[in-house]
Every structure is written in C-alpha cells, then in structure tokens.
Amino acid sequence: MTAELGHFALTLALGLALLQATLPLYGASRGQTALMELARHTAFGQFVFTAIAFAALTRTYLVSDFSVAVVVQNSHSLKPLLYRLTGVWGNHEGSLLLWILILTLFGAMVSLFGSSLRETFRARVLAVQAMVGAGFLAFTLLTSNPFQRVWPPPLDGAGLNPLLQDPGLAFHPPLLYFGYVGLSVAFSFAVAALLEGRVDRAWARWVRPWTLAAWAGLTAGIALGSWWAYYELGWGGFWFWDPVENASFMPWLAATALLHSAIAAERREALRSWTVLLAIIAFSLSLLGAFLVRSGVLTSVHAFATDPERGIFILLLLGIATGGALALYAWRAPAFAAGSPFRPVSREGALLLNNLVLATACATVLLGTLYPLFLDALDAGKVSVGPPYFTATFVPLIAPALVAMAIGPMLAWKRGDLAGALGRLWAAALGAALAAGAALAYGETLAALGLGAAAWIGLGALVEWAERLRLGRAPAIEVWRRARGVPRAAWGAGLAHLGVAIVVAGITASQCFQSELILAMKPGDSAQIAGYTIRYDGTAQVEGANYHADRATLAVLRDDTPVAILTPERRFYPVESQHTTEAAIRTTFLADLYAVIGEDDPEAGRTVRLYHNPLVPWIWIGAIVMALGALASLTDRRLRLTMPVRRRQAAEA
C-alpha cells in the first residue's frame, strides 16, 4: 500500500507542476494576480507531495519490502539500518526522486523567501522552476518508476554495492544534489529575466544567495566524494578525472564564475548578459552531468545502470531547457544595455579575467570528457582521455587565475592601481618566495610553483583583511570598530580564497612529495617509509555486520617508539560476492600514513601497500573552509532577500 501511496503522491506533484508551469506565466503576461499567486501555493504543494513519495519509498526500504523492485535490486535484510536508509538514493530511481525532492524544496523556498520579488517576476521564476520539475517528474514516472512492484516477491534482495556501503558516500549524493539542483534557481531567475527583458542590480543581488548556497553544497559534495575515493578505493589517489567526477566539476567551475560575475553585475551593472548566460550554462552542465551518468554514453566506475531510453529522455529535457533558454537569450539579450565602462586593471577587470579563465577551464574539461564520445560518434575509434590530458591543459590554464586571485580583491572598482595593490601585497610575495624556495631546496620545480601560489593566495587573503581593518596602523579600538563594520560577504570572500590556498597546497604537496611502497610482508617483517618503521604483526579474521574481513595489524614506530596501530582490512561481502579494501589511515593533519592490504600468498606473504601523503588532509580542510566562506557570505545582510536594499557601506569601498 505504501508504494501505491508514493506513486499517487508523485503523480499529484506532476499535476501541480504542470499547473504551475503554465497558468502563472499566462497570469504574468495578462496582469492577473490570482493566477500569479497560484504559483506560490503550488510550489509548496509540489514539495509536500514529493516529500510524501520520498517518505513512502524510504519506508519500503526500512521494512525491507521485497515486493518493490528497487528494494529487491538494491537492498538486503541483513544490511545495517544506515545503509538500508541511504540505499534509497544509491540507485538510479531513488536518486532521481531525491533530485526532485531537492528541486521542489528549492521551489518552495523561492516561494517562501520571495516576497520582496516583483509579482510578475516571481510568478515567472516559479513557472520556469515548475517546468524543470515537471520534466523530471515525468521522466521518473514514465521511465524510472521507483514504486514498481515485482510478483512473486523474492525472499531477499540483491544487496547494495559494498563500495557504496560507507558513511562518506551515504551523504555525498544529498550534498551534491543540493548543489546541482540549487543551480536550477539561478537558471529560473535567468530565464524569467529574459522573459521580462530586464536584468538590473536587484536581479544580480537575488541570484547571488541561491548560487552561493548551491556552490557551498557542490563544494562540500565534491570534497566528500573525493575523500571517499581516497580512503575507499584504496590507491591513495583523491581525484581521477573520471567522467562522473568531471560531471560534478564542470557545474562547480561555472557556478564559481557565476558567483564572481554576479558581483560585477550587482555593483557596477557590468557583465550583465554574460552573467545571465553563465546562470543558464551552470544549470545546463548539471543536466549534462545527469545525462552522462544515467544514459550510458560513457563508462565510469560510478555510472548508474544505464538505459538508452532514459538517455533520450534526459537529452530531450536538456534540449528543451538549455536550447529554449539559449534561444531566448539570443533573442532578448542583445537588447540589454552595456554596463558602465571600466579599465582593464580594475575590480571588474579582475572579475572578468576570473570568468575567462574559469570558462576556458570548464570548456577544457568538457572537451576532455566528451572527446571519446565525439570520436565514437564519428566512428574514428575508441580512446580514453586520462589524467595526463587534464593535468597538461587544466593546470596551466588555471595558474594565471591563481596569481590574479590575491590581486583582484585589492583593486578598486572602475579603475584600479596595480602598482599600489602589488605594493600592499609585499608580505604575500615574500611568503610565496619563501615557500617556493623551500620546495626548490627539495628539487621540485612544480612543487615550488604550487606551494608559492598557495602561500601567495592565502597570505593575500590575510593581507586584504588586514588592510580593511588597518591592522597595525590604527589603534586597537579603531581596528575593532572596523572589524565589526566589515560586511560578512567580504569575510566570506576572504575565507573562500583562503580555502583555495589550502586546497592548492594540499594537492601540490600530495602530488610532489608522496612516498609509495608496495611489498609482500610476512608476520614480523618491517618496512621503512618517510621516517616511520612499519611492522606487520599478522592478520586476523573478523566478522562484520554483513561481511567477513581479513584485518592486518601494522605497528607504526618512530625511533623504536610505537606511535600507532594501523588495521587495514580486506572485506568480502557474500551477498554481493564482492571484495573491497578498507584503507587504514593515520593522520597528523600535516600528512597521512595510508595502508591497504591485498591478497595473501602462502609463500611470498601478504601484499601491503603503504603511502605517505603529505598535506593530503588539507584538500578537504580547504574545501570545508571554502564552503564556510560561502555560508558566511550568505549571512550578509545585503543578501537577505526580505531586507530592504541598503546602500553600499563605506567600509567596502
């Protein structure tokens, strides 16, 4: 009964979405308030009915109702409760329902917080949001119904891929979807603005908080995914330029560009039509990601069970949403007046540079991801584009943006003083030179560039704060007064840039200074890595909730003093008949000692792989700092939608 209730609720949500996608648009063009107001209520209704459907699906998992097809395919009665719960979105159908749940949640939030929006504009935003919603609801109901029954019900389910039975991955999709789908709001705002033929400062100010929230979710989601890959896949890497990773990285790059260009659009009415275009592109890349993962055009370790029929449907959605929006753009955007002029060396100029670099980098990733597909379509043979392509193109492209990142925030609007900005950044330049010099002393040129850039950006962010507060040049009381006056958005921006610096340092150090050791060990054997002695004390059999494991005991010694015990595992999940490796990681937050075990050979011993990864934890710490920066910006009063518009504060000049 629960499954039918869910199916029914989902159908009702589709009905409401169809109403919301049409009537308010008609109302907005005819000035009929009642039809426009309808959208505010249907937006809540859509969310409530989707939530009922999601709750119904969750219940079928929790009680292990094996008469429902997706539960049979993805669950098992022996599976721990947490993974029965997260199994809801661990497959195509359920994850689609989660996607729609978040989409309708954003629609309801626009309705709730949108009281300061113009009536016609709000109606159009909600109508566009509902068009996207209707598309995905129809997709689910027509091709991927999660409430499909099976008869006769089997005795037990097939289980969930053990790689996915992991707390890190359990919460990776909700965060990531929050980001993907959050960009739909920026998309709806852009299309509504094109429909109205009006993009002003207020528009940019409304778009920013939604984009910030989505960007924070994307950042955290991508970081969580890469952390999972790091400790679960067991080869010490954290980013593989896999098509599915790229599918999440491209919207992130576009959203980062959008965040920055929206600042210029808000403050100076510059880059307005470009900002609208970015908002369309960012969400289109989310849709493209959904297409790549679910259609089967590319193979990937993370791809869902794929089906060409579903692929056609998503491609159709993508064609209507993106094609329609871009056609509207080609028609309406030429009428937007150009913004106020600015010199190349200015805050606007720096934001434009940021946008150029990010857009090019995004295009590079897109090309690399789709290239195998292009060749296949031309019947020119099979290729796979790997990390060497991305490192060779992406890294040099992004480098100038890293240098400009510290300078941009120091420049004034309209016309900046480059010499003055560089002069004030002397401390950052000194720090960068020291970091680069230290790396060169180890003979690593690449590390010198990376660590130098990290120090430059990080110290640059600190210098910018110090400048704002007149730290060291004004009395303490004055500094305190200024600190309270600095807008949250400025704290947030600095924090986000600091986060980037931390990530860059982490990536550089882990790539350049990693030590790796692969050997066969017998109990009592020892190995040396990065100043540690690792002694293998043997392997024990342990029983987990739904797996058997070989658990090795590795004693970590430094100068003959034991500092830690590492217990990497090799697990076997009988239900799925699959092996997984569980890495054991000891972190000091400056470096990770990472151990995984392989098979046991009666003669040679057990295969043990040891890694020493310097600064690897900084990658995830930096991502968290970036997301916190976005959250700090979100609390800025200027971005609070219900607050009256305030004039720019003196401290920001």
């Binding site: 039509s273 275009l277 369309i280 055009v297 060409p308 491609l315 993508l318 080609a330 292009f374």
Partner: protein, 165 residues
C-alpha cells in the same frame, strides 16, 4: 552582427546535443576488435605460440588476480567438459606460479596454457582487460571476441553460434 554573437551559445549547444544524440546509439563497453575477421596474431609466450592453436577453439585471456575470471571459470570448465570445446588459456600479466595455483584450485579447462608474464602477447591480441575470450574457426580466423566475463547468455546467443558458423 552583434545579434549574431548572441546566437553563438545556441549554435554550440546544438552541435553538442546532436553529438550526444549520436553517442546514445553506441555501447561504450563494447570495444570493437580489429582482429575479428583476421587470422590469429603472431605471438609466442612460455607454453603457447601461434603454431599451437588449432581451430575451432577458444582463446581465453585470464589472470589469477582477476575476480571476474574466477566468476567465469565454471563456465569455461563446463564448455570444455560438456561441449567438448577446445580452449587455450593465456595467463596475462601474472606470475606462472600464481596462475598454476589458480588452476590447481579451480580446475584446468585449458588444452594448453601460455604464461604471458610481461603482457607481450596481450599487446598482440589487443587485450583491453581480463577476462577476454576470442573464438577461432577451423582456419584459425578470429570470428568473435568478448570482453569481460562470459555469461550463459553470451555463450548461448553469441559464442556458440559464432563457433558453429
């Protein structure tokens, strides 16, 4: 002229969408083998060489470190024992003693086994991943290739018909 500039995103997207549509038809896990329709490549490894192969037969590329190989092994045993099909094995990038232990544990369905420790024969055969299975006809021409573990369906629908032709 300025209006045309604003059409560029739409045009780029149209090309992209058309390409994605074309890409939908293909199956990315199906890797075409240039060997199909050709005689077997020249190779020689410890235990097996081109001259040893007598069709009709199967050539199965396996490795002891490969879990899917373990999964398909009972099917190979069945083919050799029940269907009297000749199967040659190539242990790809594997230590000979590990491969022998693998066969000692699971049974040996192969008429002959070659030990391709450094993956040299794998290059000649165009191996993209283990397991892989090639079917040869009586003239020693490759008539079918399957990447990944064999399944009862593949054997029934593709492999046996290819051998029978």
């Amino acid at each position: 002229m300025r209006r045309l500039l604003f059409l560029v995103p739409l045009a780029v997207f149209a090309v992209l969408a058309a390409w994605l549509y074309l890409g939908l038809g293909g199956d990315p896990s199906r890797i075409p083998s240039p060997l199909v329709g050709q005689t077997v490549p020249t190779f020689a490894v410890d235990g097996l060489a081109t001259a040893d192969l007598e069709g009709p037969a199967l050539v199965n590329i396996f490795a002891s470190w490969c879990v899917p190989c373990r999964a398909e092994h009972p099917l190979l045993t069945h083919l050799a024992a029940e269907e009297s099909i000749v199967i040659y094995g190539i242990a790809y990038k594997d230590k000979p003693e590990a491969a022998r232990a693998f066969l000692a544990e699971l049974g040996n369905p192969y008429r002959k086994v070659g030990f391709d420790e450094d993956g040299q024969a794998g290059i000649e055969w165009g191996v993209t991943g283990v397991p892989e299975t090639f079917a040869l006809d009586a003239r020693g021409v490759v008539v079918f290739k399957h990447t990944g573990p064999l399944t009862p369906e593949t054997i029934r629908h593709d492999l046996l018909p290819a051998l029978a032709r």
